[in-house]
Subunit: 149 residues, 2 copies
């Protein structure tokens, strides 16, 4: 797939996958503990298998045990924290309900961080109205899709 | 649902939904044009219907036409741009492939913005190792789930 958004969804876009990663970021490692999310055994098993194959989790024996496995996030898996935090931000603003979730806290001050657009070039946060969407890598020539506007 | 991440996924977590929103952010408004993503008619129709019900899109008559509808992102829908940008960042870093996608550009300088963790309190970007995940709103008492660590 040519679009990195689509490729990301191909890895973690199935229902439950990001909630499993959310719990893992909070420290969950064992199959039994992931079940607390409310996911059925067979689905959890299938999701974890795929997430291991995709390199999001590493499956390994629990320390000091030869009969129990745990699922540990890789660096690739931990990298999803910002995606989850962005979903949380959006959900907080636009949906109704409680706030039992994962938050990311700034160690220096203890406050929750926000997920924002940031310009490395200017070295500062970019406000919403300072940001414009742009289509990149559009195929040229006949048959290519013409966007409106 | 008590978790805003789960609620967000309940709204836009079905396969294709975020890709439809991605195209909409780039200016696509017509059913025929959303099809360029490669989605089947019946799925596209079902997804758009749900996204309208959820207030992500507004369905309205095209200007000057009484026979054609278009799907316009609401403010709630446009708010997903950061989620999509976070998925794009992760996909660029961790998956292989081209880069035909949506990027968010800083109007002031023309460079692509990054999606980062930002501390409003300190007024600056928080680096990855400065951010700690924290579980919030855990139910207390018997039957509550004990996280590892």
């Amino acid at each position: 797939m040519a679009c990195p958004v689509a490729r990301s969804l191909d890895v973690i876009g199935e229902w439950w996958s990001l909630l499993i990663v959310r719990d893992a970021i909070l420290g969950v490692r064992r199959f039994e503990d992931f079940k607390a999310t409310g996911i059925a055994d067979n689905i959890l098993s299938a999701r974890l298998k795929k997430l291991v194959e995709e390199g999001i989790f590493e499956r390994r024996l629990s320390e000091g045990r030869s009969d129990r496995y745990e699922y540990v996030l890789t660096e690739k898996g931990s990298g999803l924290a910002l995606v989850i935090a962005a979903l949380r931000s959006w959900g907080q603003k636009w949906t109704q309900g409680g706030d039992r979730s994962l938050r990311l806290v700034h160690r220096a001050c203890g406050h929750e961080v926000s997920v924002v657009a940031y310009c490395e070039e200017c070295g500062r946060r970019a406000a919403r109205d300072e940001v414009a969407p742009e289509r990149i890598g559009a195929p040229a020539g006949p048959g290519s899709h013409q966007f409106v506007d």
